[in-house]
């Protein structure tokens, strides 16, 4: 593999974002607003509930982590492919001596690295001052970092899968809608899965979306008894998604219709 070329893509994608500085401020602001709204909702729920089901400091931390993790996801890769399919720019990409999926992955990696440095880290620092965050136990740090990696890879593969399906429909609007709904509910971004009723919790545990928000946060908070086992299952998801994606890629490349001339 030509690592240098892919790292160069990663670097260019990173520096591309630097040219839009105002976006950095807007995104940090947006993150803080989302965290604020979530924390406010939990506060009012906690105030109105009789039992002590809601642990406020836990929920603050949960909201901050899921919001941050959302910024590191690569599901947006399908938007890149979709716009390239519409404009026909995908031709130029395919005329390069590179593997297309790896190129997409490293381009996303550049974007995510930028987000991490200029968006997530500042947002967390501000959130720390505004709302306060529980620090993780030392034993949770390593599986937490691993879970972030799993989240990134799974999100990339899901985004890529959606993009490949788009080869058949030549548009991603409907898929985008469905994916958005599935992710909002089953990733546990807004409501942690431990609040789901048993039926829905079971369903969520059979889907890959929980790795995109719930699992990293739950590992951070020490809510999972066997974090490594869950992560190994995550790797199983990666393997099966990889299989499906590769299968579809071979079919898609056969019927590639590049629009726009």
């Amino acid at each position: 593999m030509m690592m240098k070329a892919y790292l160069a893509y990663c670097g260019k994608s990173f520096s591309k974002h630097i040219s839009y500085r105002s976006e950095v401020w807007l995104r940090i602001f947006g993150n803080i607003v989302i965290m604020f709204i979530q924390i406010s909702i939990w506060k009012s729920l906690a105030a109105n509930s009789n039992d002590n089901m809601i642990n406020m400091s836990e929920m603050v931390t949960y909201s901050i982590i899921t919001t941050s993790v959302m910024n590191l996801l690569m599901t947006r890769v399908y938007q890149t492919i979709d716009s390239k399919l519409q404009s026909g720019d995908i031709c130029s990409d395919l005329q390069k001596p590179i593997s297309y999926p790896w190129y997409l992955f490293f381009e996303q990696l550049g974007t995510v690295s930028f987000q991490l440095l200029f968006n997530v880290v500042p947002s967390i620092l501000i959130a720390l001052l505004l709302f306060g965050v529980q620090l993780p136990e030392a034993s949770h740090i390593f599986p937490f970092l691993l879970s972030l990696l799993v989240a990134m890879v799974i999100s990339f593969l899901i985004g890529y899968l959606v993009a490949l399906i788009a080869f058949w429909f030549l548009t991603t609007f409907a898929l985008n809608w469905t994916l958005g709904a599935l992710m909002t509910i089953f990733s546990g971004v807004f409501v942690p899965i431990w609040f789901f009723n048993p039926y829905w919790a079971k369903l969520a545990s059979f889907l890959p979306f929980q790795y995109l928000g719930y699992i990293p946060s739950a590992i951070y908070l020490g809510k999972l008894e066997q974090p490594y086992l869950i992560l190994i299952q995550g790797c199983g998801w990666i393997a099966s998604l990889l299989f499906v994606v590769n299968l579809l890629w071979w079919k898609a490349i056969k019927r590639l219709i590049v629009q726009g001339g």
Partner: protein, 337 residues
């Protein structure tokens, strides 16, 4: 040595059939009827290393489809296609190292980054050695006069500047074939001129084969030695401009002679009188091989030659020739294959 070899190539597109009317819309959603269109319909040709070929045809004649098949991103329906001895769609990445592609209406440069960043990226993608890279960048920056904008973000460039950068980028890895899809579209006269000169020079110096589609026939005249004309997916002419002129009748010369006083009727054995206004007469001299100087002899043989005030001899321009060729094509008369 043939670098591109195409034999009876066919590309068929399948699209869902659309029905009209309000029920038609619903019918379209469920229907599995398809409409087949042949963008490329049994074309054969070969291009040698270092050749420069203009690939011409009206809009929708299947030119871009051909370039996409040659670069391996579109799979042909049937027929043989080989680029440098390999089937492009089976060896996309290998072929990609040997070709450069420029789309006039599309950009391969990174919009938000300086031009030089895109060059650096290509250095890594194509594994260009540092010394080769520096030499080529310096050469192209000088030849294409890019020094003033090579460090500017692409979005701030003018179209002419951007096109020069696109062409330099496509040539950075010294491809064996350069595909250009309307490279001068929307450019001003000077920019067009510079780009044509540069392409001609690169073609001669590095022996890169050029395949060019364009609607600006000056491009063809100045860059290409050979023309392939396609229409309705078929090649209707393949040869040089001289032969095309001959087929079309464009090799005949139109001669307008202006006299001081009306000399009366004048006739030549090798010319037709097109227009007679008394003092001004217009003839079309029919070309015959081996009698290249008969035109001058005929004119000199006019009895009252001292009465001639002015003479203009006109060749048919390439625009007129291609226009004539397209007109002939729409009348479905094949010129020559």
């Amino acid at each position: 040595m043939a670098i591109i070899q195409i034999n009876q190539l066919v590309k068929e597109y399948r699209t869902n059939k659309r029905f009209t009317g309000s029920f038609g819309l619903i019918k379209s959603l469920f229907s599995s009827e398809y409409v087949y269109t042949r963008a490329v319909d049994g074309i054969s040709f070969s291009i040698d290393a270092g050749e420069s070929v203009g690939y011409l045809g009206p809009n929708g004649a299947g030119k871009s489809t051909m370039i996409k098949m040659l670069t391996g991103i579109l799979v042909p329906t049937s027929g043989d296609i080989q680029v440098d001895g390999k089937v492009p769609y089976r060896n996309r990445k290998e072929i990609a190292r040997k070709i450069g592609v420029v789309f006039g209406q599309r950009s391969q440069l990174w919009w938000d980054l300086p031009v030089i960043d895109s060059f650096e990226l290509h250095k890594h993608i194509y594994n260009i050695s540092a010394s080769d890279y520096n030499n080529r960048v310096n050469q192209y920056v000088e030849l294409l006069d890019m020094a003033s904008f090579v460090h500017k973000p692409v979005r701030q460039l003018s179209l002419g500047q951007r096109m020069r950068a696109e062409i330099a980028l496509a040539l950075l890895h010294h491809p064996e074939i350069l595909f250009l899809d309307e490279p001068t579209i929307g450019l001003d006269v000077i920019a067009k001129h510079n780009i044509r000169n540069f392409l001609r020079q690169i073609n001669q110096e590095t022996n890169v084969a050029i395949m060019l589609t364009t609607h600006d026939l000056k491009d063809i005249e100045e860059i290409c030695d050979r023309i392939i004309i396609v229409n309705h997916g078929q090649a209707v002419f393949d040869g040089d401009i001289y032969h095309l002129k001959k087929e079309i009748g464009g090799i005949n010369k139109q001669v307008t002679i202006e006299f001081h006083v009306d000399p009366g009727e004048i006739a030549f054995p090798n010319a037709l009188l097109i227009c007679d206004e008394g003092v001004r007469k217009k003839f079309e001299f029919i070309h015959h091989d081996g009698e290249e100087n008969s035109l001058m002899r005929s004119i000199m043989s006019i009895p009252n030659v001292e009465q001639i005030k002015d003479i203009s001899i006109e060749d048919m321009s390439i625009e007129e020739i291609i226009h004539q060729a397209f007109v002939n094509l729409t009348q479905n008369s094949k010129i020559r294959v």
